[in-house]
């Protein structure tokens, strides 16, 4: 298919009828991504295909690597050379990337990682949907850290949040994840590309001191994010996964580690109000609360709509950022509602986070699915009815 309607920055314009993977690739280009390294894997392959084709038109570099370990470390190198970088994969590749993701966190390397989730464990169901990497993205690499993870539910959001992920990665110097799934990735819907004024790019902070001066690559500003010099600008930098001091030198000591790891976590935690995104539906008088995300939120929304038609006061909280988790809001809502239902295409992952936050004694129900399909609205509606019946006063 010919790509038409490009503006002078090579960004697609206008309205299109495309699938989520293609929207993701176009969102990356709009987000300034000009370097992609990856190992194609269903159901994320279309992202790589699209970028391979489109990068020729916008002066980007596309590398097909030998595996996912190489892919993630390759984009980290390119990020240190000043590029806005991305890789895309699915569950099996995501598992392989864990070590490199830890390196990205420790070295504060801006990057975007797309995981179009399919059903596992292992190779599982290559062509079918799941949401089973939600905890892996949070805890999969060793050590303590905070990351940002978006869960797009529509083709439009695949574009919007991939674009946004690049800005967030640059601002916080952290890996940002797009936790999509096979259905959203392969679903074809209308995509409206926002106008150019709405696609502004945030850039990583540059050092203000001279290259030969007193530059410390890991000396944070007030926002806890250090300015980032890139290779070739003349600054002396040392990039290591070992615990390091502000100069970037390895320091194998308790206090250095305390300072570094706490800062890495705190730079995200203190900004949660700017990072966290969610949407609420029929929440004002809701008695039964459905908390969902990604494609599951679309089944849930139908169920909540139908419950309302039956006169049941159901409401929904849709997580857009799964991580950081909107802890404060869930605690608030838990005080208002009588029961919480969490439909997700796994055997209960994000529900653990919900349970942690709901400490008012109300029931929290995990509505699970092992993968290969999505919840039917009726399954969710039935559970809403049941809860409405049992908790009626």
């Amino acid at each position: 298919m010919a790509v038409s309607l490009l503006n002078n920055r090579g960004i697609l314009t206008g309205s299109h009828f495309v699938n989520g993977d293609i929207a993701c690739a176009e969102g990356a280009i709009a987000g300034g991504c000009r370097f992609f390294a990856g190992y194609p894997i269903t159901p994320s392959t279309e992202i790589a295909e699209r970028l391979a084709r489109r990068f020729g038109q916008v002066g980007g570099k596309f590398l097909q690597m030998e595996d996912e370990i190489a892919s993630i470390t390759c984009i980290l190198g390119a990020s240190w050379a000043g590029q806005r970088v991305m890789t895309a994969t699915s569950g099996p590749g995501f598992s392989l990337m864990m070590e490199g993701i830890g390196l990205a966190i420790m070295t504060e390397t801006p990057c975007v990682i797309v995981d179009v989730q399919r059903a596992g464990p292992s190779t599982g169901l290559p062509t079918l949907v799941a949401q089973q990497d939600m905890m892996q993205v949070r805890w999969g690499s060793h050590g303590d850290y905070e990351i940002i993870a978006y869960c797009p539910a529509t083709v439009q959001e695949m574009f919007d949040y991939t674009y946004k992920a690049f800005n967030m990665a640059e601002i916080y110097r952290v890996p940002v994840f797009i936790m999509a799934d096979e259905v959203v990735g392969h679903l074809t819907e209308k995509l409206i590309i926002p106008s150019e004024e709405d696609l502004l790019l945030e850039h990583r902070k540059k050092p203000v001191v001279e290259p030969r001066g007193s530059y410390c690559p890991y000396e944070p500003d007030e926002d806890l994010v250090p300015p980032m010099a890139v290779a070739g600008e003349g600054y002396r930098i040392h990039v290591t996964g070992l615990t390091h001091d502000e100069r970037g030198y390895p320091v194998i000591k308790e206090d250095a580690h305390q300072a570094l790891v706490r800062r890495l976590v705190k730079k995200i935690r203190k900004n949660v109000n700017d990072i966290i995104e969610y949407e609420e539906y029929y929440i004002d008088d809701a008695e039964i609360l459905v908390i969902s995300y990604g494609i599951s939120a679309r089944s849930s929304l139908r169920a909540v709509n139908e419950a309302r038609e039956e006169g049941i006061k159901a409401g929904m909280l849709r997580l857009i950022t799964a991580w950081p988790f909107p802890e404060k809001r869930v605690r608030e809502l838990a005080r208002k509602v009588r029961a919480v239902i969490v439909p997700e295409i796994n055997l209960g992952q994000m529900v653990r986070e919900v349970e942690r936050c709901v400490n008012t004694g109300i029931p929290v129900h995990s509505l699970t699915h092992a993968g290969g399909g999505i919840h039917r609205p009726l399954q969710i509606l039935d559970r809403i009815r049941e809860e409405a019946y049992h908790t009626a006063r």
Partner: protein, 253 residues
């Protein structure tokens, strides 16, 4: 914010083998509805690992507002291009729905499901491009249902097919429209039945007219008509194979 709406969704299923343009057919419908109409559409798909020959199907949901649950479960209209697809999906048809199928590829089960049988692949062969059979069925879909503006589908076809094949595809689409008109096929959505105008049928029996071939090959299965499968099937096939081809060739070119 996802739009909350109570608009009714129209579900469509297109199914057959890989290589018949099944996915493309669904894509054209969705694209026409969204980019050239004012509706929302969500197209999903399922196919085997083979790119040709494996089972292949796509679902399209069209709605006036945001499509929440995006998968097709009980389609109002099905376009079916293989027996396997028919066997898999025909019981999912929504109440009052219709099946549009390729006459030579699908032998419908007994029952009262309204089926419009169109010799699309054969018609496409006469056009010189077997692969446009899907577009002929799309024409039938357009004329019978009227769900999506005809011009919108035309535009959508034009920018969805490989360059250089636009003309033959538009021709195929027109052939589908013409087929419905000539056979006088009408779908009564409320009752879920198909009507075929008998007068028009008669007209077509005039010798030498373009309609003749169409009327013979057209088999619109009326409601509740029971068919003894083996015999009638053979008879029809024979008819199609022997007598019709000559006249058809003349009439379709």
């Amino acid at each position: 914010m996802l739009d909350l709406n109570k608009a009714k969704a129209l579900e469509i299923r297109v199914a057959g083998f890989g290589g018949q343009g099944i996915i493309r057919c669904g894509y054209i419908i969705g694209r026409a509805a969204t980019l050239y109409g004012s509706k929302s559409a969500a197209q999903s798909q399922a196919y085997g690992p083979e790119s040709r020959g494996g089972a292949c199907s796509t679902g399209v949901i069209i709605k006036d507002g945001f499509v929440d649950y995006p998968l097709v479960r009980h389609p109002k209209v099905m376009i079916i291009m293989s027996q396997e697809a028919y066997n898999t999906f025909h019981l999912q048809l929504a109440k009052g729905g219709i099946i549009i199928a390729d006459k030579d590829l699908v032998e419908p089960a007994e029952g009262d499901q309204p089926v419009i049988l169109v010799p699309a692949t054969r018609m496409a062969e006469h056009l010189g491009r077997k692969v446009v059979a899907n577009i002929i069925l799309l024409g039938v879909f357009s004329a019978v249902t009227g769900f999506i503006d005809e011009q919108a589908i035309r535009k959508s076809i034009s920018d969805s097919v490989p360059p250089g094949t636009v003309d033959v595809n538009i021709k195929a689409f027109d052939l589908g429209l013409e087929y419905v008109r000539e056979c006088g096929i009408e779908w009564e959505e409320a009752g879920g039945t198909i009507k075929q105008d008998r007068k028009k049928d008669k007209e077509k029996k005039k010798p030498g007219t373009a309609g003749k071939a169409v009327s013979k090959t057209a088999a619109v299965r009326p409601k509740r008509k029971r068919v003894v499968p083996q015999k009638t099937g053979d008879k029809k096939k024979k008819q199609a194979e022997t007598g019709d081809k000559k006249t058809e060739k003349g009439s379709y070119e």
